[in-house]
């Protein structure tokens, strides 16, 4: 592994950490515009993080050590996930670790810890949020795995860097399987990132909330880390979607110039994706929690059909 590889890996992590709150701010701005409200500042998430890091930490009386370490574990999982997703370059020192199944496992690890921590303090909201989070998680994970598998069938490998490499250098061809997988991936990422048809990211203290209920007891720097982790998760999902379905512009090995071009390409794609996410959220209504299994069963079904079409049409 050469210097350039380490540099691009470092750049990718730093970029993820810095850009993730900006992406949230961008999506919120678009949502406000679409709903005819005056938009909040693009840098509001940074200010919020800064404020939370400087606030005093209040811990519940019966909080166990698990409750204290969870924000760090969740943040670490999300940072690692955004590091192994090839968003800028496919020539990364971490690429042996960037496996599709490992990625899903990382998200699952974060989910298990945050659900345990939410139940740890023993408040009703935390427990309820943890249950709902697990309900969504166990339905979303198989669908996400199927999406990644249908992409890996095209490249005959579950390594994310190999998948992206193959997809970026293919001839121009129509892959119906990728279209199915793309729709399924959009549905899964809406559910996983607590966006509107499944959960409303704008509500706080409501009976319908899922993600907010999990972090309700946290304060100070713990809450800041969790918020940052949530924005990193959205960033990681967006990068994964862009890398799988729109892989153009991602640099391959040994070319500094391509790396230089990959950065504006990624930012452009993320900006477009963020605006699309805001539009998607504005046109749909939040569904009942008991409709969520149906929504995610549809995502799973689309992903499975994508795989079947891939295998049986032989393309």
């Amino acid at each position: 592994m050469n210097f350039l590889g380490y540099f691009s890996q470092l750049l990718e992590i730093v970029l993820a950490l810095l850009l993730a709150p900006l992406l949230i701010g961008w999506v919120n701005q678009w949502r406000a515009w679409l709903q005819n409200k005056s938009a909040p500042s693009l840098f509001l998430p940074y200010r919020k993080l800064h404020k939370l890091f400087n606030k005093e930490l209040v811990l519940a009386q019966h909080a166990s050590p698990l409750y204290r370490v969870t924000p760090y574990i969740v943040f670490g999982c999300m940072a690692l996930a955004s590091a192994i997703i090839p968003s800028l370059s496919t020539d990364l020192p971490l690429s042996p670790a960037s496996d599709a199944i490992a990625l899903v496992g990382l998200f699952a690890l974060a989910r298990v810890f945050i659900s345990l921590a939410a139940m740890d303090v023993g408040t009703a909201f935390g427990t309820m949020g943890a249950r709902r989070e697990m309900l969504i998680g166990f339905l979303a994970e198989p669908a996400l795995l199927m999406v990644l598998f249908s992409a890996s069938l095209l490249s005959k490998s579950t390594s994310l860097t190999t998948i992206v490499d193959t997809l970026a250098h293919r001839d121009l061809a129509i892959y119906p399987s990728l279209a199915f997988a793309g729709v399924a991936f959009t549905m899964v990422s809406l559910a996983e990132n607590a966006r509107i048809p499944v959960d409303n990211p704008a509500t706080h203290l409501e009976l319908t909330m899922i993600h907010e209920a999990l972090t309700l007891e946290y304060s100070g720097r713990h809450l800041a880390l969790l918020e940052w982790a949530a924005s990193l998760k959205l960033f990681a999902y967006s990068c994964a979607g862009l890398a799988l379905f729109f892989p153009w512009g991602i640099a391959d090995a040994q070319s500094p110039l391509a790396l230089l071009l990959a950065l504006p390409a990624l930012i452009f794609k993320l900006a477009l994706g963020g605006a699309l996410l805001a539009i998607l959220e504005s046109v749909s209504a939040k569904m009942r929690i008991f409709r969520v299994p149906e929504f995610l069963a549809t995502a799973f079904l689309l992903a499975v059909i994508g795989m079947l079409v891939n295998i049986l049409l032989g393309i």
């Binding site: 061809a173 129509i174 119906p176 399987s177 279209a179 199915f180 299994p293 149906e294 069963a297 549809t298 079904l301 689309l302 499975v304 059909i305 079947l308 079409v309 049986l312 049409l313 032989g314 393309i315």
Partner: protein, 219 residues
């Protein structure tokens, strides 16, 4: 170029499959009719493209018949029927939707498996899509089974005919003209008769639930 067009046909076939699944999962009658119209339009595109690639002018005629019949005439008839019967409410399912979808996946696998040896023997450009056509037929059949109201059952029947039509195009470049015209007429007459039939069911039972038909005696 040919490779690109055959990929495009595959894409249209995949869209047909997706539409069949969304019909299976749809709760509203009005959306069902829209989905049926979209299925017809996709079928028209697929038939016309196969006709264009293989230089078979008679496929243009079948595409035109499909366009007039399944995209314009039958959907407008169905709209009139549900207007006059005043049935826009949610469709009642006999099995819940996620379960229906899972059974649907199994049926898709089955039909792919069944169609594979047949499509290997065939030499047409769209031979790979035979499995999808078969899956569409089975899914529409399942839609007829899982609905208890008359209008969704009729739509299921019509969409099954779409699947059959696509299978014929995929496997043998369409049926002979006489057969095609005959089937088109059959479908048209069928929908008229079923429309009359629906009015009679409603008059007799004050409901479109066909489970009332299972009873022999009035209670």
């Amino acid at each position: 170029m040919t490779a690109f067009i055959s990929q495009f046909i595959n894409l249209l076939a995949a869209i047909l499959l997706m539409l069949a699944f969304s019909m299976l999962a749809q709760r509203r009658i009005l959306s069902l009719i829209y989905l049926y119209t979209m299925q017809g339009a996709t079928l028209v595109a697929a038939t016309a493209i196969v006709g264009f690639v293989t230089n078979q002018p008679h496929l243009y005629f079948s595409a035109a018949i499909t366009l007039v019949l399944k995209v314009i005439l039958i959907p407008s008839l169905l709209h009139r029927v549900i207007d006059r019967l005043n049935v826009r409410w949610d469709v009642e399912m006999l099995i819940n939707i996620p379960m229906t979808m899972l059974i649907g996946i199994v049926m898709v696998m089955f039909s792919f498996y069944l169609a594979q040896p047949i499509s290997q023997m065939s030499s047409t450009i769209a031979r790979g899509t035979l499995g999808i056509a078969l899956a569409c037929i089975l899914l529409s059949f399942m839609m007829m089974i899982t609905r208890s109201k008359a209008v969704p059952q009729v739509i299921g029947f019509l969409s099954m005919e779409n699947g059959l039509f696509f299978a014929a195009t995929a496997a043998t470049y369409g049926m002979p003209m006489v057969v095609e015209l005959g089937i088109a007429l059959d479908v048209l007459v069928g929908i008229l008769i079923l429309g009359v039939f629906m009015f009679h069911i409603r008059e007799q039972f004050d409901s479109l639930d066909i489970r009332h038909l299972e009873k022999l005696k009035e209670d």
